[in-house]
Amino acid sequence: MGPLQKKHLIITGLIILAGIFPFINQNDYWLHILTLSFIWMIAVYGLNLLAGYTGYLSLAHAGFFAIGAYSLGLLTVKAGINYWAALVLSCVITSVIGFLIGLISLRTREHFFAIYTLCVGYVIYLVIDKWDSLTGGVRGLIGIPAPSNIGPLSFESTLSQYYLVLFFLLATIFVMYRIVHSLSGRTFIAIRNSEELAGTIGISTMKNKLVVFVLSTFFAGLAGALYASFIRFIGPDIGYTTVIFDLLTYLLVGGIGTLAGPVVGTMLIVSVSQSLQFLQDYRMLIFGPLLTLIIIFYPRGIVGFFSDWYRKRQSTKLQSQKKKQVKSNMDDEDLHEDRVKEG
């Protein structure tokens, strides 16, 4: 079996596992945690495309997550729009705001970009927190409806919401896979590598960066909107700075700039943090050093570590094969010579 088929088999297996999980484990609490993780993963994928593949570490994405969530909340609760229309609109609103912020913020680079977007994220949080008449301020927004029925499909139960979010997650991963393995993806990676070089091979860096920025805010907005309709209550703290650092931790532990990173990192951190629940906030005493170690020794996270290891193994295999071949060729020649002598 080739490595590609093996990969396909693993992916299919994981999808099936995710599909039948609710039947294996009928605990509603775990279903709830898993659904939440899937929502975070969608946001982390958005962040990964920008920070991992294009090299622009945005710290404003909790803000965009909140914009998506509040757009959905306000559109359904206050404007009374149909859920699905509101979901689409929330993503559009987030993307439009993302476009405007991207236009300005992408003029900065590296740590300046990170600091600038950190400020943007905080401003978004403040706006939500202080704009009492629109957002309800610290009281938050309650009574957000669950997704409305599509024909006979109802999304009232935790189980149906689980499948809905899983569907969006798989769609996100599919889109990411296609983008990363395409000429556009190569273009983004070229920008990450060296913007100067990318420019001289004819890539319009500003245009491409803006496209990625908008796309990544789109996914942050989608995640936010799904969050709002899943939890049914939102407060300004979903846009707070700690949220972006949570997302970033998932991404860094899983593997920044890898396709499987967001899934691995989120699952790992969420499940570890669940099982260390009894430690309360002291959990951070474990996460802090762990994160530091991972960044020092495996800058591309757990997935990066495994793919490097796999590649190394492949190349040593290849080399030993080549050596064997050369050796057998030489043996053949020896044989040939012997024969000639005998002849």
């Binding site: 296609r178 395409s182 556009s184």
Partner: protein
């Protein structure tokens, strides 16, 4: 004139890195720019390829004023370049590194990529074929599947050449292509440059290895403190008193 600069000047604060340089790059030849360290050679390259905006003066490419165009538009017109340090994506294969070089000749966007449209598939193949073609041209077919991080310095230089060639350029600017590689390999790169010219690509290089430049270049410009002090064939330049003075210091008559 193919590429021409008129009174090209770049001022960094009070320092003029390039000062009133008039230079013409001749089509189908190997042109070279030489000069002591800090003479403004790389700055000159950056001005022509659009990485820097000049303080004053103009750059013309086939009669068109390209002075204020961004580097990506200049690249589309057919001007390509390499850098002193080779920035390759080390975790990807050589082939993967070069494929993106032809991106500027393609149209497909994100939607094409997600839907894998006909146009996308055609262009993806086009980029792949182009990459294989330039890797063959630069003599790298045997390492296309190796990681860029695991190849030799000389091979990296060749990959940088390949990447520049993948853009379908008419002229290639090479910034110190032979820096950090041994004499035998330098010979190989010189051959490659000759091969490029034979194929109809104009070459302009910055180089410190005098032997190589003098043997190779048909037209040489010498810069010193940002100013052009000499221009002409190898023999003309080598016998120029100003050049000798700039390189050896002191009085030329001594």
């Amino acid at each position: 004139m193919f590429i021409e600069t008129k009174e090209l000047t770049k001022q960094f604060g009070g320092l003029a890195a390039v000062k009133n340089v008039d230079f013409a790059i001749e089509k189908g030849k190997i042109n070279a720019i030489i000069g002591p360290n800090g003479a403004g050679k790389s700055t000159f390259f950056n001005l022509v390829s659009g990485s820097y905006r000049p303080t004053s003066g103009q750059v013309f490419y086939k009669g068109e004023n390209i002075t204020n165009l961004p580097s990506n538009k200049i690249a589309k017109l057919g001007v390509s370049r390499t850098f002193q340090t080779t920035n390759l994506f080390e975790q990807a294969t050589v082939l993967d590194n070069v494929i993106v070089g032809h991106r500027l000749r393609t149209q497909s966007n994100l939607l094409d990529a997600v839907l894998r449209t006909k146009r996308y598939k055609r262009e993806e193949k086009q980029c792949r074929d182009k990459a294989m073609e330039v890797l063959d041209f630069t003599g790298l077919t045997h390492i296309t599947d190796q990681l860029a991080g695991s190849i030799t310095q000389e091979e990296k230089k060749r990959v940088a050449f390949a990447l520049a060639l993948a853009t379908d350029p008419e002229v290639v600017f090479l910034d110190e292509p032979a820096a950090g590689i041994n004499p035998g390999e330098t010979e190989g790169l010189a051959e490659l440059m000759k091969k490029m010219v034979k194929k109809g690509i104009t070459v302009c290089l910055i180089e410190h290895k005098m032997q190589m430049v003098m043997k190779l270049a048909e037209k040489i410009m010498v810069l010193n403190y940002g100013e052009k002090i000499a221009e002409g064939t190898a023999d003309e330049v080598m016998s120029n008193k100003k050049v000798i003075k700039a390189y050896l210091g002191g009085d030329a008559s001594a």
